[in-house]
């Protein structure tokens, strides 16, 4: 059984690494969310006084409280940005499904030789910088931008889209489209065409066959795509920051502002914990689905 123990050895390095740099920091975030802000560097209290020994540790734990959370729930701005984040992510996920499904479906109907190139074409933007792709929309959407210049040519406009919620939706759909198309395509491509023929033989019209056969069979892809987009979108920062307006409330922006502008580290941590608690179930669902999909790929 030395082979198994060697495999265990291989796991040790990444396991330790993730334990130290991924898992352990969450305890620090949780701890900090129970601390108070302080005018110090780092700007929070209490800190463990190791010189006082066990008394210092006890004093440290005694000073932790849920005050920051109480502050979050009593401030309507936090509650509003929590609800608005969920709304942005949910609506954008719906839009992505509506827009992404026909694209993925269309791709899967091409002959296999062309599919790979199409797949590549969808993946390529995903590799190019997120920041740059969001930035590209500023030039399009700003008041004296390319969209309004084009609209003026045909005697329409101008539209004020930049710094509105509409711009945030455009940015979310644009940036996450490959994440929706790829899992959908993965299931649609594998579908057995003879099932559709069977449905036709049994008297289904093409649209009936789609809704009764193709769509139900593609649900795992719908689920994977929706989770893959929804989870990170709830905490999105770059898109609401660059394309949204001052009234656009999203948790990612809230954490950023609390941390960098207000230097309120406990508040930033508490918001992060709330966000994490909200996303734990979707993340677990996503993980289980991915594991299943990879193992089915044998």
């Amino acid at each position: 059984m030395s082979g198994r123990s060697r495999t265990g050895l291989a796991a040790l390095a990444p396991l330790l690494w993730l334990g130290v740099f991924f898992l352990f920091p969450f305890f620090l975030v949780a701890k900090l969310s129970l601390s108070d802000t302080a005018l110090a560097m780092p700007p929070y209290a209490p800190r463990v006084d190791w010189s006082a020994g066990i008394e210092g540790v006890r004093a440290f734990f005694a000073a932790l409280d849920f005050e920051t959370y109480a502050r979050l729930t009593s401030d309507s701005l936090y509650v509003a940005s929590y609800l608005s984040s969920l709304k942005f992510a949910a609506v954008a996920t719906g839009l992505l499904l509506i827009i992404g499904y026909p694209i993925a479906y269309g791709m899967s109907r091409f002959p296999p030789s062309q599919r790979l190139a199409l797949l590549m074409a969808v993946i390529l933007p995903f590799w190019t910088s997120f920041l740059i792709r969001v930035y590209a929309w500023i030039a399009l959407l700003k008041p004296q931008g390319l969209l309004n210049a084009a609209l003026a040519q045909v005697g329409l406009g101008p539209l004020n889209i930049l710094n509105t919620d509409t711009a945030v939706y455009i940015g979310l759909v644009y940036a996450y489209l490959p994440f929706m198309v790829l899992p959908l395509y993965a299931v649609l491509e594998k579908q057995d065409q003879s099932q559709l023929e069977a449905a036709a033989d049994l008297g289904c019209t093409p649209s009936q066959a789609f809704w009764r056969v193709t769509f139900p069979l593609s649900l795992p892809g719908v689920g994977a795509g929706a989770l893959l987009c929804f989870i990170p979108m709830v905490g999105e920062f770059v898109i609401p920051d660059l394309l949204g307006g001052s009234g656009t409330l999203m948790l990612g922006k809230t954490i950023w502002t609390e941390f960098f502008a207000n230097r309120d580290w406990p508040a930033a941590s508490a918001v992060a914990i709330v966000l994490l608690a909200t996303l734990v179930i979707p993340i677990v669902l996503y993980q289980r689905q991915q594991q299943k999909m990879i193992e089915a790929g044998q």
Partner: protein, 260 residues
């Protein structure tokens, strides 16, 4: 099998147009002689020349490339080990795969904040190494998934044959398994490198003075508005990444067609 219908063709074409139009416009306007976004002032490469004189930007580019090279290499080694462990071993899988998959979808602000608090707790000054370690942590998960996808379809019997012929497990891995999964390992490295190259949020939390990465520099310029210089540097980055991705793709294609 029937080919794509007109509706299929239109959906795919519209989808690709939507994905590429903003990028193509950005590239075109990086060659615009005029500073204004909507006025075409003729073809010019002066914004590219201006980049070469921008020391801050070049510094940031240097930092970003070094962070990317080191973190991608770390991530690929750790990710390959993690993939082997995930595919071969059943014990402790739930926790392990949880730690691999969660960072893939976890909002970046949470990852950035938690890593920063770790460095603060240990009194480590923020700078080059803290960004590099942070990037390695996040990108190692992507590297794992890429290598794992390839490993599950790799026939374990080949490695067993090598063991029967007298290889130690480590020899068998390097002589048989690694050459077989090499395209996936290369792809994993590329992905880790580009993710590090692109990252703004995690770098903003974990970098310090003297370790300003290119996305941080671009972000602070973008906040002031659209400019031809940003278009030019963006075009160069897009070109770099696209060349790399297409090279890996062609490499994989050649291997696939060469295989019996």
């Amino acid at each position: 099998m029937k080919g794509p219908s007109t509706f299929n063709r239109v959906s795919v074409a519209a989808g690709l147009a939507f994905l590429y139009l903003p990028i193509v416009l950005l590239v075109i306007y990086s060659f615009n002689a005029s500073r204004l976004v909507t006025v075409w002032g003729g073809f010019s490469t002066k914004w590219y020349a201006a980049l070469l004189r921008d020391d801050q930007l070049l510094d940031a580019l240097g930092v970003t490339l070094r962070v990317g090279l080191i973190s991608a290499t770390l991530a690929t080694v750790l990710g390959t080990l993690a993939a082997v462990a995930l595919v071969r071993s059943r014990r402790g899988r739930l926790l392990f795969s949880g730690m691999i998959y969660a960072p893939l979808v976890m909002p970046e602000v949470i990852l950035g904040l938690s890593l920063l608090l770790l460095f603060v707790a240990f009194g480590l000054p923020r700078g080059f190494w803290t960004v590099t370690v942070s990037h390695a942590t996040v990108t190692l998960c992507y590297a794992t998934v890429v290598v794992q996808a390839r490993l599950v379809s790799f026939d374990g019997a080949l490695e067993e044959a090598a063991r029967d012929l007298g290889c130690t497990p480590v020899q068998a891995f390097f002589a048989v398994t690694l050459p077989n999964i090499a395209p996936a390992v290369a792809a994993a490295w590329m992905l880790a490198f580009t993710l590090s190259l692109d990252d703004l949020v995690i770098a903003s939390f974990t970098s310090g003075p003297g370790a300003t990465t290119l996305p941080i520099r671009i972000y602070s310029a973008v906040r002031l508005g659209v400019s031809p210089e940003i278009n030019a540097i963006s075009t160069l980055l897009i070109g770099l990444v696209a060349t790399g991705v297409i090279a890996v793709y062609l490499l994989n294609m050649r291997r696939r067609t060469a295989a019996p």
